[in-house]
């Protein structure tokens, strides 16, 4: 074995120039070259105790796939990753590696950890570019399983079960499969062609995807059992957007992040001549500090905004978004107004002319400055308003990216399915709900979280469903 590369820094991720990418929807990070991938792989020490693997919600055998890269066996690396992950090209792009696998990397003690996410992406992209053959559907084992929702948890659960020979039908309420990967995460961070490719791989494994079926409305969970499905996995995702309940939130130009991103991503309002309208240009304030807030802010910029603010009530240290997204947003010129909290959204009102078309549209957002007090229940320091520090930002559009509450449709039509006080479906360690044969995972259980944690939940449930149905 050759000596490891002991350079302290990761190979940087090549990216589009910030000035250029701020005006297009092409992917920001362009991916490693083969040379960079080999060089980065050689930074891995192949530790015996594999701390990185325990940091991965789906336990990808990280040192093994990196060893394959070192050998130049990229297909072998892909095979190792797909033993445990159904969506490698997605995870390599959207996982918060800095708080998962890479956080535990020994190389991170002195310098930067190995760029595990970047390597995963390289392997997956290389496979997708070169491999023409689709996986063959395994022989049917005689069992049927229904999966509700085609987001990361549902796709993972479906993929794992299909590989074991189950006949799986995925029911999707929208017209396109992919869930948050399609309606939520923008093209510049996760190209839709990649999601479509992952969905096609599942179809090749024999998974049926039924779009335009809203479980809880078009069909109920009980009807799925009646139709011969022996288990149901609910991965219906996050639901209704939260608002702040401050004056002016119903003004025209105030969006939830879900609406803003759905219009742009799923409905392609970012195109020059869209069929679905969206507010473009002007000044935009995005309220919140998570990945969704970063996505909304950077989308607004690309839609032609002259100025985009992030308004977040805590400080940079508490900002929950993936580090790389925050850095990219800053490079692109997003103006971070930290330790600020909105108190009112201002709307235009022409007292003399009730028919003035500008009436009811946003003109600004009034915020109050905050300071950090004692830690709260979440362990983060609680932000407290600074008296008399109100100020107004002139904006035309406000996007509220402050989380969601679980969707009520399935709960309200499924007897015996219990939810917690926040509306999340209650499950045990196997993902089993309070209803026999009904499993759940992802945001429908936890409230808004990450793609990879949803995938982990889909995986856990798939394994529990397999044990229950196969009798092993």
């Amino acid at each position: 074995m050759s000596k490891p590369n002991m350079r302290a820094d990761k190979n940087p991720m090549p990216a589009q120039d910030p000035k250029v990418r701020a005006h297009n929807f092409n992917e920001v990070a362009t991916g490693y070259s083969e040379e960079a991938a080999l060089d980065e792989a050689n930074r891995c020490l192949n530790c015996k105790n594999m701390p990185c693997v325990s940091g991965c919600p789906v336990n990808v055998r990280i040192p093994s796939f990196i060893e394959k890269i070192k050998e130049g066996d990229f297909e072998g690396a892909y095979a190792v990753i797909t033993e445990t992950s159904s969506l490698p090209a997605v995870c390599g792009r959207v996982c918060p590696q800095e708080t998962q696998c890479e956080q535990r990397c020994v190389r991170g003690i002195k310098g930067e950890p190995v760029g595990i996410g970047r390597l995963e992406r390289y392997v997956a992209d290389r496979h997708n570019e070169n491999s023409k053959e689709s996986p063959a559907a395994p022989e049917w084992n005689g069992h049927r399983v229904a999966v509700v929702g085609s987001g990361p948890s549902g796709l993972t659960c479906a993929g794992d079960l299909a590989k074991k020979g189950y006949k799986v039908t995925v029911f999707e309420a929208l017209h396109t499969a992919g869930g948050v990967l399609v309606y939520g995460i923008p093209e510049f961070r996760l190209p839709k062609a990649i999601v479509a490719k992952e969905v096609d791989t599942l179809k090749a494994l024999g998974v049926d995807i039924e779009t335009n079926v809203i479980i809880g409305k078009t069909l109920t969970v009980d009807e799925l059992f009646g139709a011969g499905y022996e288990a149901v996995f609910i991965g219906s995702g996050a639901g209704l957007p939260n608002f702040m309940n401050i004056p002016g939130e119903s003004c025209n130009g105030v969006y939830s992040a879900n609406e803003f991103l759905t219009r742009s991503n799923l409905m392609k309002a970012y195109l020059d001549d869209p069929k679905t309208p969206i507010m473009k240009g002007g000044k935009v304030a995005v309220v919140g500090g998570g990945n969704v807030a970063m996505d909304a802010a950077r989308t607004a910029l690309r839609l032609g905004a002259e100025k985009v603010y992030i308004v977040y009530r805590r400080s940079m240290e508490e900002l929950p978004a993936r580090r790389e997204e925050v850095e990219h947003a800053m490079e692109e010129g997003i103006d971070f107004r930290l330790l600020c909290n909105p108190v009112e959204i201002l709307g235009y009102k022409n007292e003399n002319d009730p028919r003035d078309p500008k009436n009811g549209f946003v003109t600004g957002i009034t915020c109050i400055k905050m300071e950090l007090g004692e830690p709260d229940a979440s362990g983060r320091r609680r932000p407290v308003p600074v008296k008399g520090s109100e100020f107004t930002l002139d904006v035309d559009t406000v996007v509220m990216a402050i989380g969601t509450s679980p969707n009520p449709l399935i709960k309200s039509t499924t007897e015996g399915l219990e939810v917690n006080k926040r509306g999340g479906i209650i499950v045990n360690e196997d993902g089993l709900t309070t209803r026999k044969g009904v499993y759940a995972g992802g945001d429908a259980v936890t409230g808004a979280a990450t793609v990879i944690s949803a995938m982990g939940a889909g995986k856990t449930a798939a394994s529990a469903i397999d044990r229950a149905l196969s009798g092993n």
Binding site: Y183, V213, S250, S256, E259, P408
Partner: protein, 283 residues
């Protein structure tokens, strides 16, 4: 893909179609809606269910050509297909305990009011219907209403057919004359529903209104369809797609809903004009 089984022109701007969608047809109840996309690149629009035939597996929709999407939908012929058709969505109209109901429909809103009137008739309630249109040319569904109503009043704004005036005129006369409706259900333009509510208020009759705000997913995800209710001195945000589309008329903030409805007015106007021009050129 979902096949158009029948198509019928009801008036110069209103069309009725029956769409083959067996799952939705088996489930849809009066008051619920569906979401459709005409083609691959199309926008999602909500349309209220105007009837179902579970045996044939069809859902009836009635729409007014007001924008680019309804223009494209209207160009589709019997036997052709539309891209997506999902539903039913929303909560069905509540019918329990209502023995004497007044249905007030305005314009294309009558298409939604009709299955509600039919349902009450089927359940044995006394049905009084008041339907209003701008002019005779725009009148729709008169025969259908007559069939399921114990009493029917037709109004036109310009007096070109039946009685001239707003729907609130006969409603007020009936209430003044001592009619004791258990419920008034009104479906039509926001301004009409607002005034129906105001007319009923002095008589203490409950009013249900059917809201039709801007929507995208229709499944409780985007929040675009939010509206505000004034309840016990509090302002409460509700989502028409999962909490509605029916709401207590006395609680709805109509002025806010009207303002929100105008959000994309300019975009819609341009898109409609462009679509019409494109289609003309294509001819």
């Amino acid at each position: 893909m979902y096949r158009i089984i029948t198509k019928k022109i009801l008036n110069p701007t209103v069309t009725q179609m029956e769409i083959e969608a067996p799952l939705a047809a088996a489930k849809a109840r009066p008051g619920q809606f569906i979401i459709l996309r005409v083609d691959e690149e199309g926008e999602r629009i909500p349309l209220t269910v105007a009837g179902t035939d579970p045996e044939r597996g069809t859902v009836k929709i009635i729409f007014q050509v007001v924008g680019a999407t309804t223009e494209l939908l209207n160009r589709k012929q019997q036997g052709e297909y539309i891209q997506d058709f999902a539903g039913p969505l929303g909560v069905p109209t509540h019918t329990e305990g209502i023995k004497n109901v007044c249905i007030v429909g305005g314009g294309v809103g009558c298409a939604i009011a009709m299955p509600v009137a039919q349902e009450f008739h089927r359940l044995g309630a006394r049905v009084t219907s008041i339907i209003g249109f701008r002019s005779r040319e725009l009148l729709i569904l008169e025969d259908e209403f007559r069939e399921c109503s114990d009493s029917l009043t037709v109004m036109t704004d310009d007096g070109s057919y039946a009685r001239q005036g707003n729907v609130t005129v006969p409603l007020k006369e009936m209430l003044e004359g001592g009619e004791r409706f258990d419920m008034i259900i009104t479906i039509g333009p926001l301004v009409m529903m607002k005034f129906v509510t105001l007319t009923a208020k002095p008589y203490g009759v409950p009013v249900t209104v059917s809201m039709n705000p801007i929507m995208i997913d229709g499944t409780g995800m985007c929040g675009g369809c939010r509206l505000t209710l004034n309840r016990d001195g509090e302002r409460i945000t509700k989502f028409a797609c999962v909490d509605g589309p029916d709401f207590n008329g006395y609680e709805v903030d109509f002025d806010e809903a009207m303002s929100r409805g105008r959000m994309y007015f300019e975009f819609e106007r341009k898109a409609h004009a462009e679509t019409c021009n494109l289609l003309k050129e294509a001819k």
